[in-house]
Subunit: 493 residues, 2 copies
Amino acid sequence: MAKELKNLTKRAENYSQWYNELVVKADLAEQSAVRGCMVIKPYGYAIWEKMQRELDNMFKETGVQNAYFPLLIPKSFLSKEADHVEGFAKECAVVTHYRLMNDPNGNGVVVDPAARLEEELIIRPTSETIIWNTYRNWINSYRDLPLLVNQWANVFRWEMRTRLFLRTAEFLWQEGHTAHATKEEAQDKAIEMLNVYADFAEKYMALPVVKGVKTANERFAGALETYTIEAMMQDGKALQSGTSHFLGQNFAKAFDVKFINNQNELEYVWATSWGVSTRLMGALIMTHSDDNGLVLPPHLAPIQVVIVPVYKTADQLGDIDKVVTPIVAKLKGMGISVKYDNADNKRPGFKFADYELKGVPVRLVLGARDIEAGTVEVMRRDTLEKQSVALNGVEEYVAKLLEEIQQNIFNKALRHREKMTYKVDTWDEFKQQIEKGGFILAHWDGTTETEEKIKEETKATIRCIPMDGEDEPGKCIYTGKPSARRVIFARNY
Amino acid sequence: MAKELKNLTKRAENYSQWYNELVVKADLAEQSAVRGCMVIKPYGYAIWEKMQRELDNMFKETGVQNAYFPLLIPKSFLSKEADHVEGFAKECAVVTHYRLMNDPNGNGVVVDPAARLEEELIIRPTSETIIWNTYRNWINSYRDLPLLVNQWANVFRWEMRTRLFLRTAEFLWQEGHTAHATKEEAQDKAIEMLNVYADFAEKYMALPVVKGVKTANERFAGALETYTIEAMMQDGKALQSGTSHFLGQNFAKAFDVKFINNQNELEYVWATSWGVSTRLMGALIMTHSDDNGLVLPPHLAPIQVVIVPVYKTADQLGDIDKVVTPIVAKLKGMGISVKYDNADNKRPGFKFADYELKGVPVRLVLGARDIEAGTVEVMRRDTLEKQSVALNGVEEYVAKLLEEIQQNIFNKALRHREKMTYKVDTWDEFKQQIEKGGFILAHWDGTTETEEKIKEETKATIRCIPMDGEDEPGKCIYTGKPSARRVIFARNY
């Protein structure tokens, strides 16, 4: 077994440490020399690229187009929308100068004090302000609407406590910003995009999510309504995986974006914004992986199938090469990404452990005896089960197995979530249960005050008011006041 | 004719103004509220996305993988490579603070003076420094090499005079950074990537380029050799379209990146870097477009074919719809992007002018009489020629026509460059010719001094020493000193 693998902390010992080690050992990402900023390594980036590709296709199917807006935002823009500035303006990277000069004392370079900006620029923490300032010139009439724009970009928030993928100062994301002629259309769009996120999470990431509405307290700064998809990690904690906001006319008013409606009246434009980020990588890793390393869903795995030869002599390897070549070609032709690892500077055992660590969904092992018997050993990463399969038709077997693995890890995650979701009706029960993790469906009186007290006492937050929940009158677990339906409480990442 | 189009300045009147107007009128990009930073609009971004997709595929075919490195670079990193800091460290965006606070006087937000960074951070003007600082931990042995990494990213250089796409403070690009065990391998890689750029320019952008070597004076800051592809715009000026650098061991030495070679000796790693940027958009626009607007190469056009119905009654439109539906389906099935514009709030004449302005390569126009006759009017954007074509089989006709247009605009650009390339042997002739534009093949004595004097007197720079040029002894046009071969002089963007 490879050295890296032997050292991986077990989930049961320390889940948090297991995650931190796994991200690094599986070559996904690492800390950089810049505080809170990560380097996304090629293997991690290949997964992110696959996510991007699929999401981008899904966005385009809804009529969204990509564009690009400036990295830097004039400081004054941030204070134009009152709630927005409270939520975002504080912890951010501020550009104050535009030139360096040689240090007069000969110590490298220093900031040129003469090159101070009149108005400071902020590295975008999110782009509503610069985008709505731009939209003012793009929108005149209802004929210019809807405007359905997305950008793939880096953003920056000066986070004090960072963790790879889950919370970093710089992260990669997409942010959609749409403009509409009516309130209803904007509300519908916000929900449509939430559904895109949920579909993506379930179909590609094999990640079951709960769709819901955020409480006023947890809303995006400047939104009238925030919709969310919430996933449960293996430790029972929640991870907010994507949000979609109905912004009302707040940003249109802040940036004076009006249009002439089809009644020939001047009106403010209605808005949405929605985003998912490299945080999804954290969700992906934490949902499926195990003590042997990553478990990747086949639909997002950069390498779906690895083939490892086991041989003693060069002749044996030659024979195996001959058998493998057409299998590789056929798998590729079926759109399956396959790697034949016949490098001779590593032993098979090392390779096995390494591809397990990297979460490759299917492994084929071929030795001299397999060739004689016309069989191949197939291992599936999700269950680690091995099976001897006829070489003839192995490609179809593998294709089917990949889909089976995709479905299996989704089902497993769903069962886990169901098992860890509890209806709780008393405060004592709530305090006990929250220590064990999981989603708690409980009644809440609807006030921010109660929400914050519960958070203070238990570190549990309201993840969302589930959209598919049913009305069910009850009493708030904390205050006993009446409640119309249950909400989801959990501790969260 | 649409209003926007009528107002487009003619190339012959003012080429520079024609370009500036075209970029905006064709909805490619516009200035933002942040000095020198552009907004890339959806139509412009769609072209850039197509470029990215093709380049990315080409990179991956050479074994390159994508990754992502931090946006911000510690100031001290910039001064570690002596030449690099001279070339890059000066005009850049400097982050000095990490927090804003409410203005005590109630005027929005101000920079929190308590949140000053110990060491300032620079928004990357290019990423050699942060990447080589990272590579130190990735490379131990020759077995870790080569490292073939690319990133798609935004970069920032505080340019004083900016022009959309051609020179902007923030721009989008890709930067490849490779690490090798031997000098030869690194040199070969730098040239291999230059060839990828040249192939991409010719096959996708229909842009003929000259491959060459930069003089010492024009080299990338920190490189031992810079290779370039140079294109000629319609006004006879050169546009540097992509560069690939052999960096020797400079960055490995600056960041102490050593490896154990296969002789078990410790050695510094050899490096290359190479990049193309949104500047390519400028090259694309300026090479092919005309007084009616954009002319896009079919291989990069977001919409390759537009179909416009001409009708008087709803019945007629219904009939046309019925004929067009299977044509659209078939074209899409052939991988051709097609738009059927049957919107009834714009007249056909407006649509014609608009799609001409946007450079859509092929336009089909269908009226009631065409349907009776079983024909359709096909217009090609490059020559504006119209042809009546049988509806039956029009899809194959269009597919062939797209390839013909791609080839034709390449040939046209190549003929233009050949016509505007001159061999010049005297200084008087040189001074005369340079005023008329074009590439001048002339002898040069090889010194930076002469190069700079020629630039001072004529604004001409040495674009490159062409790789496919032949040795031909001669005398420097400026000093009369001996020269082994001709170099290319031009004024440039």
